[in-house]
Amino acid sequence: MAITPLLMPKWGLAMEEGTVVEWLKAEGDVISEGDEIVEIETSKITNVMEAPSGGPLRRHVAPLGEALPVGALIGIVAEDSDSDADIDAFIEDFNANFVVEASDGDEASGPDIVSVGGYDLAYQRLSGGDGTPVIMVHGFGGDRNNWLFNQDALAAQRDVILLDLPGHGSSTKDVSDASLGGLAQLVLDFAKAIDVGRFCLMGHSMGGAIALEAARLGGDTVEAVIGVCPAGLSNQVSSTYIDTFIGAERRKAMKEAALMLFSDKDLVTRDLVNDLLKFKRLDGVDQALDALRDGVIAESNTSPIDISAIQAPVLLIVGEEDEIIPLSADLPSGGEVIRLPVGHMAHMEDAGSVNKAATQFFGTAAA
């Protein structure tokens, strides 16, 4: 009897509207929770939306190619017993009462700041279930918003803490200690400073190396750790990418760098490139990136992390088409490995698989 609306999702804090590009399920298909049902384009990136619940997909409401605000009605899931007239009435009623949520991206959604090790570290904490909180550590040149497609899925079970590393996002730009050990210790000190107790870690790329090393140093304060396309294994970080990114002063060069991140090149939009440039043009960022290249990146290339010395369970999620940290034949033993047919930004390109794997892995680790 229940008519369930499918709504335009909000991926990350900046998203205000999205456009339905393609329906992956036809009207009349019976869908299950978690099915990929519709492809939605935002100004930043295109992603697929998964069904929040199951049932017959009765109606495609959003017209293709039209930008709709977050929260707008895009489709209807309803039982066969619900008549078309009921559905029409539901849609009419919904749209009549629909109010676009005011987007004041200001104070309300700004990051918290904590002083640790001489840095002001910016972070955001999303409240979730009773599970052990997870600290998310982005990669080189990224920031806490890189987890936009993952944060809500993980927050269904646990608090999600999105960290900006030094030199990135809203944290201090001056990186005084860019070594792998220094940054790993910083993550542990950060966890202590915000009083999370025991926690999980999930890191991407350079942040993956930092998360794995933090797990090694942290002993039993770390419950489980996931490295997504992590540095610090036996494979090498592409110096072409790092040098192109650091050298990119204008859009063309930055686009060249961004294209290496994804196997689906269409995901690189002008906004994504502009956002990277905006970050790069902040005072102090060039010096920070230089320091990280010569510190943690160089170090993780020459002295791989000893995965077997990590007390917590380890999951590695890698992209088979990763151009930044190409998959090496001999992934280290001691951790579970999931391979996905995507590029370096696996957590964006195949958010559904990464979220599923992460949720399951963290859940098992706690049991």
């Binding site: 991206g105 200001d106 700004g110 002063e249 204008r250 859009r251 002008r270 905006k278 902040l282 005072d283």
Partner: protein, 335 residues
């Protein structure tokens, strides 16, 4: 990220650069206000309040109120720049630059060249441009085409708060004279602006809207009109790309040409009288460099060849408006 207006973004850029480099000074009429009188200092902070608060932070040695003598302001700034300071000279209205034009185009713009590259002139001239507030013929012009044609000057036209801050910091750190022109009608428009200092290189256009059917190249406040039109026509399935060159000297020719090569149609919007302006300049560029890509005649939306009218009704007739821009876009799509 905090939202800031153009006014706040410019103020923050000045604050941060003055804090970063003690050679940066601000000089102009009433940039603090109250100098030489018994009243309160910093009462004014510039005619539109853009330099408000700098006096309290940096004092009268670095925030210098001048007499109403435009040639002295520009001459002092050019000389100070030659001697190693980084002056940001403010002239209330660009219309007044005529009084001190020799100091700018014949002196500051020529120093590096005439001293065999041994001298640099890191000065910024901030001034206000634009019509739309019934400020009449002597306080409403844009005049940037006149500066753009002078070799040795760089000319910056921010259309929004993010660009205003990054371009002004770039201008202050630049070693050549830069004319930085702020449109009166954009001061109160707000957007996300990082609190940290950042720079935007000169000669890099922004593309605030991407599209495949028609390219609109617009300058300063006209960019906002172009965006309005692009968003409106999107609803009709007409895909308009908006190119904001951000600087007219240097000019990002590549981005303009690439856009027209993709769309095949061009509208240029310039709040200047119709002859010898940026619209004619860009039309010439595109017709000589991308003629084969053009599928329709280039449309120019400019002002009338008349002094800016005082009457609000006439002023609207004089100005490029979203309606005129939309009509021009539709014209390129006919046939």
């Amino acid at each position: 990220m905090p939202k800031q207006t153009v006014r706040e973004a410019i103020n923050q850029a000045l604050r941060q650069e003055m804090g970063r480099d003690e050679n940066v000074i601000v000089i102009g009429e009433d940039v603090s206000g109250g100098a030489g009188s018994d009243g309160q200092r910093d009462a004014y902070g510039g005619v539109y309040g853009v330099t408000k608060g700098l006096f309290g932070l940096y004092g009268e040695e670095r925030v210098i109120d001048t007499p109403i003598t435009e040639s002295a302001i520009m001459g002092a700034a050019a000389g100070a720049a030659l001697r190693g300071l980084r002056p940001v000279a403010e002239l209330m209205f660009v219309d007044f630059l005529g009084v001190c034009f020799d100091q700018i185009y014949n002196q500051a713009a020529k120093f590096r060249y005439m001293f065999g590259g041994k001298a640099t002139t890191p000065m910024v001239i901030r001034s206000m441009i634009g019509a739309g507030v019934s400020a009449a013929a002597q306080h409403s012009q844009t005049l940037y085409p006149m500066f753009t044609m002078v070799p040795g000057l760089k000319v910056v036209l921010p259309s929004n708060a993010y660009d205003a801050k990054g371009l002004l910091i770039q201008a202050i750190r630049d070693n050549d004279p830069v004319i930085f022109l702020e449109h009166k009608l954009v001061y109160d428009t707000a957007m996300d602006v990082p609190d940290e200092a950042y720079t935007i290189p000169f000669g890099e256009a922004a593309i605030p809207r991407e599209g495949d059917d028609v390219t609109i190249v617009a300058f300063s406040h006209m960019v906002n009109h172009a965006i309005t039109v692009a968003d409106k026509l999107k609803g009709e399935g007409i895909s308009v790309e908006v190119v904001d060159p951000r600087t007219t000297s240097p000019l990002d020719e590549d981005t303009i040409l690439e856009s027209v090569e993709n769309t095949g149609r061009l509208v240029v919007v310039d709040e200047s009288p119709p002859r010898c302006n940026m619209a004619t300049d860009i039309a010439a560029l595109v017709s000589s460099q991308a003629f084969d890509s053009l599928e329709a005649a280039i449309e120019l939306v400019t002002c009338a060849h008349t002094p800016v009218p005082f009457s609000p009704a006439l002023e609207q007739l004089y100005l490029p408006t979203p309606e005129k821009i939309e009509a021009a876009v539709r014209k390129t799509l006919k046939g």
